[in-house]
């Protein structure tokens, strides 16, 4: 089996699967259970400054979006940072790191935005023997109202400033956790890099209301008839997270900055996708909160098998898909495909027809006997039929060979790559060189 041993900014762990800073990592009991189950590391739930412990609501902390059969697709929370005394957390962190020296132990932090507060807590964390710190600039609910969490993460100057303090006052690796509740993730990542961050981790949760109670006319989760926005996570947010990770991986100013990928990682495949887009490891929360810690075993076996099958090591995977993430303007306009329906696999549900006829390009014929066929003269290769077809591989996109004629345009399919930058319709087109 391929070794999954990972080295992330000098922090070693037997596998790249860490538990994200969240309820599953709030205390020794859970973390020890997680390590027993096989997790490579944890980011301990966010510690706050010395003082009276944080207070949480006493009603529901979570809201959910279910798929069929009550499958958890998305989870939202309004829980704050740890509500246990600082010294208890620090004592337990020290103990667990001592008992599990091969596992990654990173501590998440969120204190008021002044240098003294950060300096004070960093010293105490360093004393536990933890491997690193993660700066929580991400939580979009509750703490942000007090000028912390995403209130910091939404201002690049603050990110840079606090990161610099942390690098100044600690020898530990500093991971900056980014909020997705911004217009362009690159600004936040660049700021972190300028401040000296060893890595960024993303995404934190997305501001959300999961549902509205249509009897009480209040948002979910609801506390005594009222609700507030909370942080959304789970499988539903993965596409957003993947894009943000890729943006950082390919940005000129942040390229090469280590990334810890977070956002809906549920299976080994999700983890592999994040890593292919440049994440050096992944952090998991919702999947563990839904199914328990044992899911890491599937992640370990799945990723190992995948790497073995391709003769790859873990480091070969990291960033492998990054060169293929590009801007729209560079996509090959000479690449022309048409939908093909495999009549042997077709079950004649007609969803492709309804989708194409009602909402797309009227490129599918419905013939007597419920036979569905593609009209190449209309098909723009949008892929919607593939997406709505309930049968895997029944509809595929087949490339038209260069030199043949595209029945839709009547033009010959070009041999050579050509993109928008040189397209005659582009007023800004540059002459091909």
């Amino acid at each position: 089996m391929a070794s999954l041993a990972a080295d992330f900014v000098g922090i070693k762990s037997p596998n790249p699967f860490w538990l994200a800073s969240a309820p599953p990592t709030d205390k020794e009991y859970n973390v020890v259970r997680a390590f027993r189950a096989g997790w490579g590391g944890v980011v301990w739930k966010t510690l706050g400054a010395e003082g009276p412990p944080i207070v949480n609501v006493n009603g529901p902390r979570y809201g959910v979006v279910w798929g069929p059969d009550r499958r958890v697709l998305g989870l939202n929370n309004i829980e704050l940072i740890t509500d246990r005394p600082l010294e208890v957390n620090l004592r337990e962190i020290k103990q667990v790191k001592r008992d599990w020296p091969d596992r990654a132990m990173v501590v998440s932090l969120m204190v008021p935005c002044d240098e003294e507060s950060w300096k004070a807590i960093l010293a105490r964390v360093e004393d536990t023997g933890a491997d690193g710190v993660e700066l929580n600039f991400g939580c979009p609910h509750g703490m942000s109202e007090r000028g912390m969490g995403s209130a910091v993460g939404q201002v690049p100057e603050y990110i840079e400033m606090v990161t610099r303090w942390c690098k100044m006052h600690s020898r530990m690796p500093v991971i900056v956790k980014l909020t997705p509740n911004i217009t362009d993730i690159r600004w936040a990542a660049r700021a972190a890099r300028r401040g000296g961050a060893d890595a960024v981790s993303l995404i934190n949760t997305i501001n959300s209301i999961t549902a509205v109670d249509l009897d009480r006319f209040a948002p979910e989760p609801m506390i005594d008839g009222k609700g507030t926005h909370g942080g959304y996570c789970g499988p539903a947010v993965k596409p957003i997270a993947l894009n943000m990770v890729a943006e950082i991986a390919r940005d000129a100013e942040t390229r090469g900055l280590p990334v810890s990928g977070i956002g809906g990682v549920t299976t080994w495949r999700d983890a592999a996708e994040f890593m292919a887009l440049g994440a050096g490891n992944v952090q998991v929360c919702t999947a563990a909160m839904t199914y328990g810690f044992r899911i890491v075993q599937e992640m370990i076996s799945g990723l190992s098998q995948y790497l073995d099958a391709r003769g790859m090591g873990l480091s070969d995977l990291v960033g492998r898909a990054v060169p293929n993430v590009t801007d729209w303007q560079y996509l090959n306009l000479s690449y022309i495909t048409k939908a093909r329906i495999d009549q042997d696999l077709c079950i004649s549900c007609g969803r492709c027809y309804a989708a194409c006829e009602d909402t797309s390009h009227q490129a599918i014929w419905m013939k007597p006997g419920r036979i569905f066929e593609v009209n190449d003269a209309e098909c723009v290769a949008c892929n919607l039929c593939v997406d709505v077809c309930p049968v895997a591989d029944c509809i595929t996109m087949e490339r038209l060979a260069p030199g043949t004629v595209d029945p839709r345009t009547g033009r010959v399919v070009p041999e050579d790559y050509a993109n928008w930058t040189t397209h005659p319709n582009n007023p800004m087109a540059r002459a091909a060189e």
Partner: protein, 443 residues
């Protein structure tokens, strides 16, 4: 009572009362809300869905399933009833495996269709439990229509006519309305007095008077009805039973009567059944009789059908149901004689080959021990009022149930064209009602 499965003769109480009660519990228990949600989610919402085409009443199945999936079973029920006012019963008794569920694309894809029948029951049960009646009557037209037969065809016809504002009088020879829903369907398919509850719910639209115990021919005549009403609809079903045509026929019992008695019995443990029961026939009536005999405690029950299994009227699903109940199915054998003195002792059968020239005995015979033998070899039209053209043993109709007599429509089993299914009868009654309404409106 100390009878057991082994007691000879035709006796009651072969099983403890609790065992019989358990045996006759709902054969397909209703889906709960979560199960319904999961089952509904499997529907692909096909374009021009094949299930709709396969449904004799053309219920918009994908729509009602989507309405269940989105938490509005009341709206789902309305979608069903708009096409099939007896959607509750059809959800229970339709051979969905040969209708909508056979056409379901998931049947083609994976051999496991969307559970349309059970979902239909979920919606209609939920809506009926919520109470009320979802249809209002149009302004009174002053027209009066007589409906003969309070079975599925007659009730569907009456409801649609009442909705259009006509005054309807329904006549039925039996003491209770419902027709085969009340008298002719296996008890475990429609438990808890559902048939009567559904009739009551249907009649809640108003404008329908039901006169039970009134047989056409004996108590009222068609001529009389034609004179007194603006239109007449006949949904009289099939009143006669086909004969075995075998020696000793008089010793055989009528399966249809047995089912009716069973349905009307207050105490199933008091209902006598044989130790060795033989059922002659191959349709749903044969299966319902055989299975219920087993459930009452008969030790050995055999269905004997004259042709091959593939020709049986009972679907594969029904055959499997019979087999699971412990019923033995013998095919390619026709009854030759029923033996016994005053009571059945055994039935003699001749093996037969089904060829292009019809059934031909092979010359080989066998005998089955029996103390009760049922004939379930089909029913035939009986008591047709004079003057109505009959064709192929059924009342001849054209288009939406127009008979050879002006002002007289017919539908259901008494006419041809259907498959003797509740759902077909409902469709025919409904369509005749629309035709009657159009005719009356044009006058």
């Amino acid at each position: 009572m100390s009878n057991s499965q082994l007691t000879p003769g035709v006796v009651p109480g072969r099983l403890p009362a609790e065992a019989i009660a358990a045996n006759f519990a709902d054969v397909a228990p209703p889906l709960d809300a979560h199960e319904a949600h999961v089952a509904a989610d499997r529907c692909y919402f096909c374009h021009d869905a094949p299930c709709i085409t396969a449904c004799p009443t053309a219920i918009d199945i994908p729509l009602f399933i989507r309405q269940i999936a989105t938490g509005t079973p009341g709206a789902a029920a309305k979608t069903i009833w708009d096409q099939n006012i007896l959607g509750g019963m059809c959800a229970r008794v339709c051979p969905t495996e040969t209708l909508c569920e056979e056409a379901c694309v998931r049947e083609a894809a994976e051999g496991r269709p969307v559970e349309i029948g059970r979902l239909q029951r979920f919606a209609t049960d939920a809506a009926m439990a919520a109470g009320g009646h979802p249809y209002a009557r149009a302004a009174p037209t002053g027209r009066r229509v007589a409906v003969v037969g309070a079975g599925p065809a007659g009730l569907a016809c009456a409801h649609r006519l009442a909705m259009h504002g006509h005054e309807v009088t329904v006549y039925d020879a039996r003491p209770k309305p419902g027709g085969l829903n009340e008298y002719g369907i296996a008890a475990y398919k429609t438990t808890g007095g559902f048939a009567q509850a559904e009739v009551e719910w249907l009649l809640a639209i108003g404008g329908i008077t039901v006169e039970t115990g009134r047989a056409v021919g004996a108590d009222v005549t068609l001529d009389d009805l034609r004179a007194r009403f603006d239109a007449v609809f006949l949904g009289i079903g099939l009143g006669g039973v086909n004969a075995l045509g075998a020696q000793g026929e008089g010793l055989a019992s009528d399966a249809v009567d047995f089912i009716a008695r069973l349905r009307q019995a207050d105490d199933l443990a008091a209902l006598p059944v044989g130790r060795d029961v033989v059922v002659v026939g191959g349709g749903m009536t044969a299966v319902d009789t055989a299975v219920q005999s087993r459930l009452l405690g008969a030790e050995n029950v055999t269905i004997v059908y004259r042709r091959g299994r593939e020709r049986m009227g009972a679907s594969g699903h029904e055959q499997d149901h019979a087999a699971a109940a412990g019923v033995k199915i013998v095919t390619n054998a026709m009854p030759a004689a029923v033996h016994g003195e005053g009571a059945v002792r055994e039935v003699e059968f001749a093996y037969a080959e089904d060829g292009p020239g019809g059934l031909r005995p092979t010359g080989e015979t066998f005998r089955l021990k029996a103390d009760q033998v049922f004939k379930a070899i089909g029913q035939r039209l009986a008591g047709v009022p004079a003057g109505l053209a009959v064709e192929g043993g059924r009342i001849r109709v054209e288009g939406p149930g127009r008979t050879s007599l002006p002002g007289v429509w017919a539908g259901g089993d008494c006419t041809g064209g259907g498959e003797d299914l509740t759902v077909t009868a409902v469709a025919q009654g409904r369509d005749a009602a629309e035709d009657i309404h159009a005719r009356l409106a044009a006058r």
